[in-house]
Each structure stands twice: as C-alpha cells, then as structure tokens.
C-alpha cells in the first residue's frame, strides 16, 4: 500500500506535484470534504437563529447538533481516506445526466403552456435520448402511447385538473 511520499527522479517538478494532489482526491476524501462543507454551510445559514439554553432549546440547536456531527464524520472520512486503499471516481455518464435532467425540466416548463398530452410526448422523447441505444422511430411511437396512457390514467381515470391541450393558442 503506497503513501504519497514516492521520490521520483524526474526533471519536471509540476508532474510530481499533480501526482501528489490527485493521489489524495479519493472518493472518501471528496465525500468527507463535502460533508464538512454541508455541515459548515448549515451552521452559517442558521447563524441568525437562536440557540437558546438547554432548558429552552431554540430552533438552531437541532441544526447545530447535526451539523457538528456531520462535519465530524466528514473530517474522520478525510483523515481515514489516507490510510485505506484509494478508490477514485469513475466516469460520469454526461449524456445520460444531460438528457434526463433536460427531460424533467422541460416537463415542468411545458406542462402549463402546452398541456399534458404534448408535454408527456415531448419529455418522453427528450429523456429517451439519454441513451445512445435509443431508436428515434421507436421513441416517437412509445412517446405517443405514453402520452395517451398518462392522459387516460391521470386526467380521465383520476379526474385530475390538468389541461390536456395547449393553452397558449
């Protein structure tokens, strides 16, 4: 198990430095850092709230307790990450994240102006494009089926007050 103190005889000094820093950016270290940030953030945002006394606890006490605990665990994670086998972050599926998020956001933006049918159809297609294995004709047909299914279940079957058709025209 390696620590970071490998002496490498290279002329390029910056190569050694970046190897050091990246070596420490393990999954555990980053998670620990995030936990500390969240804990600290919570304490800072509730700075205007009263702590109160033990006999009359204020609104901030619970937040404080949890934030401190969270930050402590974060610190422990960071420290112990240097002793364990380093595990680094795997690749993020950029296309997947992009299209799924776009699909959900577009749903929320389109629902009122465009009505349920169009929205379900369009957001189905947008989300469907998140995978490289998508086939456009398949998507179009399934999207149409999905839109009808949603309309049938939610609007007709359950009588929910959602407009089916576009309201901007």
């Amino acid at each position: 198990m390696e620590r970071g103190y490998i002496v490498v005889k290279i002329d390029n000094a910056s190569a050694i430095k970046s190897k050091h820093i990246k070596h420490y950016l393990t999954v555990d270290f980053i998670s620990g850092a995030f936990l500390i940030i969240i804990g600290a953030g919570a304490i800072v945002s509730s700075a205007n709230l009263e702590l109160g006394q033990l006999a009359r606890p204020g609104p901030a006490i619970f937040i404080w307790l949890n934030s401190v605990l969270l930050a402590a665990i974060g610190a422990a994670l960071c420290v112990f990450s240097t002793f364990t086998e380093p595990v680094y972050l795997a690749q993020w599926p950029v296309r997947g994240i992009l299209f799924v998020t776009a699909g959900i956001l577009s749903f929320s933006l389109m629902l009122h102006p465009l009505g349920m049918l169009a929205t379900c159809f369009l957001s189905f297609i947008i989300s469907g494009l998140a995978t490289a294995k998508s086939r456009p004709p398949e998507l179009l047909v399934s999207g149409a089926v999905m839109a009808l299914l949603c309309a049938g279940t939610f609007a007709l079957g359950l009588d929910l007050p959602i407009p089916l058709f576009p309201t901007i025209f």
């Binding site: 949890n66 422990a76 795997a90 957001s123």
Partner: protein
Amino acid sequence: MDFLQHLGLGAAVALTASNMLYCFIGCLVGTLIGVLPGLGPIATISILLPITFGLDPIGALIMLAGIYYGAQYGGSTTAILLRIPGEANSVVTVIDGYAMAEQGRAGIALGIAAIGSFIAGCIATLFIAAVGSPLATIAIRFSAASYFSLMLMGLVFAVTLSHGSVVKSLAMTILGLLLSTIGTDIATAGTRRLTFGSEYLDSGINFSLLAMGLFGIGEILKNLGQTEEAESTTAGIGRILPSWSDIRNSLGAILRGTGIGMFLGILPGSGAVISPFASYSVEKRISRTPEKFGHGAIQGVAGPESANNAAAQTCFIPLLTLGLPASAVMALMIGAMTLQGITPGPNVMNSRPDLFWGMIVSMWVGNLFLIIINLPLVRVWVALLKVPYRILFPAIIVFCCMGAYTINNSTDDVMMLAVFGLLGFAFSKFSFEPAPLLLGFVLGSMIEDNLRRSLIMSQGDMAVFFKEPLSLALLIITAILLIFTISPKLRTNRNNIFQGD
C-alpha cells in the same frame, strides 16, 4: 369470551355483500394506482379518497382500508421492480427486493411479500382481537424522553441496514435529520430554517418527492452510466412464484417480522415506520448468511414486509384510541375518518364497536383479497420488466414527473425532482446509501420535537433520558446494537472500513 365476541361483531359488519364489494374495489384500485411509479401510497390514497365520499361511514372506511392495503402493496411492487419506495416503510423492501429483481427473482420477491403480509395480517388480527383494549393503556405511559430514545433506536436500526460503510450510513442518517429541519419551524412560532430565502422551501421538502428523486431518478441515472447491458432480468425467469422451499426458508423471518411489527406498531408515534427496519436488522443479525443481505436475501423481503403489515394493523389501535398517526399515510386515514364523523379518542372502541371491529375484520378481508388479486398479477408485473430498458426508463421518468406534479399541482416540485435525482446519483457514485437518509428525514421532526419536550420538561437536565426506565432500556438496546454492528467490521480487514459497495 370477549375475543370471539369482538371478532363476531366485526365479521357481521365486514362480511356483508356490499362491504366485501367495497373492500374488493378498494384493494383493486389501490393496487393498480399504487403500482404506477411516481404514485406512492400517500398520493394514491389522496387521489382515490373522493371515491369514498358517497358511501355510508362504515362502507367508506372499509373501502379506504382496502385502498390503503392495495396502495401499500402496490408501493412494495414498485419498490421491488423499480427501486422506488413509495413510503417510508417500503424503503427496506427496496434493498433486497430490488436485488432479487435484478437476479431475475422479481416474481418470488413479490410473491413472498404478499404471502408474508397475509400471514402477518392474520396473526395481527387475532392479536388485536385478543388484547386490543388493555394494550391501548400501555401506550399512554410513554414519555417524551422514551419517544426520543425509541426513535434514536430506530435510526440506529437504519444504520445497521447498510451493507457498505457504517460511517457513511451514519452520515446519511444525520443528513436526513438535517434536511428535515428545512422549512418553517412550528414549535418556535414560524421560524424559517435553512430556506435560503426561498418561498418554495418554506413548507419543507416533500417526502414522496425526495424518495422518487433519490431512488427512482437516481437509479435511472446510475443505470445509464453502466456500459454493460442492464438486461439481467431476462436471466431465466423460470419460477414466477415462490416455491415451497422459498416459503419454508422465509417462515422464520415472517413470524419474527410479524412479532416485531405487532409490538412496535402499538407504540404511538413512529413504531410502525421503524418496524421494517427493526425486522431487517434482526434478520441480518440472526442469519447464517448475513453477507447475502443487500444482494437478494429472501428473508430481507419477507421479514420487513410482514413487519410492515402487522404494524399497519396494530397501529390502528393508537390511531383510533389516541389519535396519533404513525406516518403521513395514517394521518391521511385520520383525516378521512374525521370526514366520516369518527373522531379518534380513547372511547372509540367502546362507543362505536361496530365500526372499530368492522374495520379490523375488513383489514383481514383486505389481506385476503390482496393475495387473490396479486398472486396472478405477479406474472403481469414481471412481464413488464421485459420491456427494453431504453423505453422503460423514459416512461418511469414521465410517470414520476406526473406523480411529482400531483403532489401539490406545482411544477416547482417537478424541478426539485431533477435536483433530487442528481443528488441520488451523486450519492451512489460516492458509495452513500440513501435508505438511512430517508428514515432520518421522516423521523427528524418527531425526534426534534421530543428532544425539545424532554429538555423543557426536565428543565435542561440531560440525564432525563437515562433516568426514565423505559428510555434507559431503549438507549441500552441502541448502544448494544451499535456496538454489534461496528465490531465485526473492525475485526475484518481494516482497509475495507470505509469502502463502499
């Protein structure tokens, strides 16, 4: 004998043709709607509630109970097939249930959930009939300090669920507690906490939204990131329903789960929510093959589902006698009952025995109907899994969006769905398990409330949690549990302490 008298009265009420019909319709509709991803029991019951308005009080309540059970089971179905927990107590089912689905054993998981629930329901009904009245008095003995310790114990149960790093699960539980503080603090007359000036956050985070985003959308994003084919569900689905040996293996878990659920369900407050977590911990600890838990151990589904159902029945006792709902769903049930003219109170059992016992017996009938409706339907649900993922996941996303919208008729909620989805994905990338976060979130406000009350009543004396005998007992159990969970991990390879899955 009281016992037979109660059951007899209940049967006379529940087993009329019209009431049986109401029960059946309730179960059927509840299951069908509950199965849709994005519509958990809370949404399902709220949506279907208007159906019950036109009926007489007893009929309406019986249909409501049917919808409740149908929705619960539909929620378990979504939990097992799609990893989306509809309610706090389906969170545990997700863990091994979904793992079983990934191994092609979805039908078995669904079947054992139904069978376990039915057995638990039968036993719980008999239990309530026998000891219902005297038990109601025990519940009142609980002080605020004991409530606090009980819920602390519940949180530790959630941590012990983790098959990854205990420390990370602890962090998630605390994060859940923290998230539950977001919004307006009722106890201090409307102080806004952690809302960052946003009006949307003033009412706090909605549980269904959190669950859908973290588990449902998060899971989809995770699957999209995998380069191998996620088609493992076609792996020889030879057995659709559980075999007799499956049932035999799960029988112990079912009976233990029933016991745990029955007792925890009676405790007012979150006993019913905690019971599946408790059952899972117990099963994992007792099992001869604990490493299977988290990877498709059938006891990990049978135990918690039975505990769930048993608790769902026995929690009607504190619900009807003390008016204390164990969860959001039960709060809805109280609301529905009040609409029908039944105000919960210590005398409900005596003032309206026909209603009380009629409901209890019809709950059993509902369990029966569920088995009848669902075991054949298991094939249909499993067939749904054969739909190619590239079409399935956009459908799930759209359903979740619709479900998110129906919570409050607000598109802001749909946007939050995206936020939680990304969060859920991030958690999985960093090997954090979301289940403890959900439990922490659900219990957060109750824990804080009881912490406050204990401190105020003891005038700042922290020792109050140790002075009360019940509270002390619960804290000792919690400590033992925590030690037991951490110690085997310390003994095994120390390098693996903080590694995730």
